[in-house]
């Protein structure tokens, strides 16, 4: 099994409580950073580590931190993006509910590095019970002197709060998150200006994913260079993968980047192979927004190289033959899965979550869902496949925020790799024709499921 940096202690009983966490080496990075390092030195360590944003975009964290504007007398904020709503992803929930203090420790060290004295953890509303776990842990940290005024006797002070959302995937987009944190509708802002210049309340802000902030702890403890020794190429360190679908052992796995995909899926140390003795058909490697890949392309690149769990290897071949590591929401589908129906659940998701600000996403996501619904109920035509392709190309690249791309990439990939399945489904539509469903489509704005 590979090295574990984040979940090394997740099995220890009581690790969610301050005493047990502290006893097992917790909060060492706070002592080290506040007492022996300057904020700039912490930023340098994160840059040296090669850590990339673990929320899905994979932007180098150290570089993002260095963009933070530092005007005199203007407060800076660090906001943790715990909105985790990408279908297939559940790693942040695991981390926050099992080892909340790891996130809090990372928030303190990171806030120190960025010069923020007030930081927020924005957590999706559905994770209300996790928010309570975090608040309890924050209370413990305050009582132990790791939060509040003059932490550990230094002149650094930090207030940390948990903010709950109320059910909107779009609030995972950083500017929509800031809008929601300001008490408004979760509409993404037009960029520029970027949050690093004008973010929360118009002040310089950095927004980072839960896992990225948690990773700052081992980076400060062991040094950025040590972190960079794990992994391959530009994919340094470890990543939490949320494995689900038709596998024997779904769950959260911390892997070293560069692990072969085949080993991840079939080895008993990880997913344990496909359930019920079935064969694998397709995999969505990084959350529903990334292109789906058929078995032959997920295990090997188009050039025949074995595929590795890393940003570069999964991205090999662009979207023609590759995909993205994304959030690491690894969904495995077996041979009995209908790609058409799976795509329908994705299209329905994006339609439901579109904020409605810009026209391509607002109208296009609904249109694609309706066409797929029509196909599913046996009334599709072969032209509908080309129409779907056309609509997704109208959305991609034309929207304010990446939800447009996230809605169009799954459609493009499903058609690109599984066109024959769509055509067969349409041609054999007779056997799935359900007139009742089709008329319900005309009377109800949304199907029952």
């Amino acid at each position: 099994m590979g090295k574990k940096l984040l979940l090394a202690n997740d099995h220890i009983e009581g690790i969610r409580y301050f005493d047990v966490y502290r006893k097992n080496g917790g909060y060492a990075s706070v002592e080290k950073a506040l007492k022996t390092m300057t904020p700039e030195q912490v930023v340098e360590e994160v840059k040296a580590s090669g850590l990339r944003g673990r929320g899905g975009a994979g932007f180098p964290t150290g570089m993002k931190w260095s963009f933070l504007a530092k005007p005199e007398g203007v407060p800076r904020y660090l906001v943790c993006n715990a909105d985790e709503s990408e279908p297939g992803t559940f790693k942040d929930r695991y981390l926050m509910s099992r080892i909340p203090h790891l996130l809090i420790e990372g928030m303190i060290t990171s806030s120190y590095a960025l010069g923020a004295n007030t930081s927020y953890i924005y957590i999706r509303g559905e994770y209300f019970y996790v928010a309570r776990i975090l608040e309890q842990a924050i209370d413990e940290a305050y009582k132990a002197g790791y939060l509040g005024k003059n932490i550990l006797g230094t002149n650094y002070s930090l207030d940390l709060y948990v903010q709950v959302g109320a059910g909107a995937y779009i609030c995972g987009e950083e500017t929509a998150l800031l809008e929601s944190l300001e008490g408004k509708r979760g509409n993404p802002r037009i960029k520029p200006p970027f949050p690093a210049v004008a973010g929360l309340y118009g002040c310089p802000t950095v927004v980072n994913n839960v896992e990225s902030i948690a990773a700052v702890v081992p980076i400060v403890n062991d040094g950025g260079a040590a972190y960079a020794e794990i992994g391959v190429g530009n994919s340094k360190g470890t990543k939490l993968i949320s494995a689900s679908g038709h596998i024997n052992k779904p769950g959260v796995y911390e892997i070293e980047l560069g692990l072969p995909v085949e080993e991840f899926i079939y080895s008993d140390e990880y997913c344990g192979g496909i359930r019920n003795g079935k064969k694998m058909k397709a995999v969505v490697a990084g959350g529903s927004s990334v292109p789906i890949l058929p078995t032959e392309l997920i295990l090997k690149t188009a050039a025949g190289e074995p595929r590795l769990m890393s940003y570069e290897s999964l991205g090999d071949g662009g979207f023609q033959t590759g995909t993205m590591l994304g959030s690491g929401g690894f969904i495995v589908m077996d041979e009995d899965t209908s790609i058409v129906k799976n795509l329908y659940t994705f299209a329905r998701f994006y339609h439901h979550e579109s904020c409605g600000q810009c026209s391509p996403c607002r109208e296009g996501t609904g249109w694609m869902e309706k066409i797929l619904h029509k196909i599913l109920h046996g009334h599709g035509t072969l032209e509908d496949i080309d129409l779907l392709w056309d609509i997704q190309s109208k959305i991609e690249g034309k929207t304010i925020c990446p939800l447009g791309e996230a809605a169009s990439w799954p459609v493009a990939a499903a058609i690109r790799h599984f066109r024959k399945e769509f055509e067969d489904f349409i041609r054999n539509g007779e056997h799935v024709k359900d007139v009742k469903h089709y008329y319900r489509l005309h009377n109800l704005p949304e199907p029952t499921f």
């Binding site: 509708r185 607002r362 109208e363 996501t365 249109w367 959305i395 690249g397």
Partner: protein
């Protein structure tokens, strides 16, 4: 003064100018359409995506092209920037795509919509739309509501440009209507029966680019191309008093603010001027409106053609020597003169 080149035409502009503003300074066919941007409203623009352009060169300092099309109304010009609008087939296609998407849920109300003839969506659809829609599902529907007793909201027609919400927010005190719900269920609404009753609320009728917000006092009275617009003013204690009167024969059918060629009002007017003064005696007439914008409304058709020819001559002269203008959809294509 950064310099920007749009479709081969260069101009020096003040710092902070957006690409759209620079294009409007140049004028003519290269100006991207804009359905949600409104120069008088802060934070407007960037939502409808009709003004998308391609930035093929970012600036002198960083000449990399921008990877995706950008909204020209919200992108600031950088020195040395090169932009493609009508000279980029990709952008023309993107615009046609956005138009098709805007029309997906938009009802085919033109035969009964007061805005017909001065509707920006109609103009866009005429230039980029297809003869037949591919959206054959039931369109989303909302009830028609009254916002106050003089303004009617046809939510079916709304394209969610947010201009009315920003107008109410920025030029009136206390907003009672806003955007409810999410995605394509989003609607402009007061949520509960609530009248907007402040003096400048009628301006939402002028800013609406489609026939969603209409003047109840003008409803179904006449098609706009049968009316003659005339500029007038009066001594008004509340607003500037500068309006446009729309006449049919001797009767003033409606009063609106004066709009420029991009459909943007020059001065906001109060409700009293707009709804309560429909007698010629209330006004000092200045003269027939000079209609620059390509439209079916015209004080004098022949005057318009002269302006058009002058525009074409000026554009041709400004192009680099030997540069061929691509047959476009706008005024530069001589075949389009039949639109008049």
């Amino acid at each position: 003064m950064p310099k920007v080149t749009i479709d081969g035409i260069s101009i020096d502009v003040p710092d902070g100018t957006t690409i759209l503003q620079a294009a409007r300074m140049i004028g003519g066919d290269i100006v991207p359409p804009a359905m949600c941007y409104y120069s008088k409203l802060k934070t407007s623009g960037g939502y409808c995506r009709t003004c998308l352009v391609k930035v093929s060169k970012g600036s002198e300092r960083d000449p990399r092209p921008m990877p995706k099309p950008v909204a020209s109304c919200r992108t600031t010009v950088m020195d040395g920037m090169e932009v493609q609008n009508v000279t980029s087939p990709e952008i023309i296609e993107a615009r046609a795509g956005v138009v098709e998407i805007l029309l997906a849920n938009h009802p085919l109300d033109c035969p009964v919509c007061d805005q017909a003839g001065e509707c920006h969506l109609q103009d866009l659809a005429y230039e980029h739309g297809k003869a037949k829609t591919r959206y054959d599902f039931p369109r989303r529907e909302f009830a028609r509501i009254d916002i106050g007793d003089k303004i009617q909201l046809h939510m079916n027609r709304c394209i969610l440009c947010y201009r009315c919400v920003k107008t109410a927010d920025q030029i009136t005190d206390g907003r009672v209507h806003g955007v409810i719900n999410r995605g394509d269920a989003a609607e402009i609404s007061t949520y509960i029966e609530n009248a907007i009753d402040n003096d400048f609320s009628g301006n939402v009728i002028d800013v609406c680019p489609v026939g969603a917000l209409t003047d109840k006092t003008f409803r179904f009275k006449s098609r706009v191309w049968f009316t003659k617009p005339v500029d007038a003013h009066r001594d008004c204690p509340t607003c500037s008093g500068k309006v446009r009167l729309w006449y049919k024969g001797e009767e003033v059918l409606r009063v609106t603010a004066r709009k420029d060629q991009y459909g943007e009002v020059e001065d906001w007017i109060c409700n009293s001027c707009r709804f309560d003064h429909k007698n010629t005696a209330d006004w000092t007439i200045e003269g027939p409106t000079k209609v620059d914008r390509h439209s079916v409304i015209s004080a004098n058709h022949y005057d318009d053609l002269k302006v058009l020819k002058a525009t074409i001559d000026r554009q041709r002269a400004a192009l680099p020597h030997g540069h061929k203008v691509e047959a476009g959809h706008g005024a530069l294509n001589p075949n389009n003169s039949e639109k008049h």
